[in-house]
Symmetry: C2
Subunit: 120 residues, 2 copies
Amino acid sequence: MPWDLNSGNPVFVQIIEHLQDDIVLGIYKPGDKLPSVRDLATDAGVNPNTMQRALSTLESTGLVHSERTSGRFITEDNEMIIELKKSLVKVQVEQFINGMEKYGFTGNEILELVKQYVKK
Amino acid sequence: MPWDLNSGNPVFVQIIEHLQDDIVLGIYKPGDKLPSVRDLATDAGVNPNTMQRALSTLESTGLVHSERTSGRFITEDNEMIIELKKSLVKVQVEQFINGMEKYGFTGNEILELVKQYVKK
DNA sequence: ATTATTGTATTAAGTGATTAGTACAGTAAT
DNA sequence: ATTACTGTACTAATCACTTAATACAATAAT
């Protein structure tokens, strides 16, 4: 049985995740105009091509859209953003629990662990 | 401020993680002989060179060691394995909680979320 | 009108990871 | 002794990602 070897994280993917987080966290709000590709690239410390790739890929999800020459904007669909957050949280929690169960921890043991680490 | 863009996961790194998990889970026990580089490569579905790279890298941690021509073996130091497991668990829990807190969840909310997902 | 800014497109080069193929020397099994 | 297996070494080719540099057309700002 082949192992699972599909967690490569290229920079442009990490950029997408970063932008998704910013949107979900409300740093960018529905309808907001994003900084230009070039400015974002400078902020992130990456090549404009890489930022362009991240943005145009992110675009295919509908979360952002570009107005050819006036800029790029966050979706006005607040429900989409809320759903994205739910989805991101769900994935993160499930991955965590799966990982812990793989190590042999029971549900209660996982809860105890989280309790311990939360109190710091 | 530059973004944090350092989570690339090449295959040989994922192999290391996979092997660490197998050791921590007791699939390989202290002193056990590992399958040959070529067999492991076939198992994993990767090139022998890639497996060799993963193994020789893992070697530098002391978790495994090679006897030139007779094979490669898991450390007999059981304490090292226990410590590795603790460390892996700690990293996973902390990363999870940090991620959740970034999304604005409080300690109690995180616990509630875990509780929900654990019961499935 | 002129200028700056926008997203987008294109070509080229460089880098790291991976695969492929081959080879060598030492040990184990027979 | 012979054979098979072991880790290891080496070169070459390929691929995806990234960077670099440049260019174009449409809009915004002046």
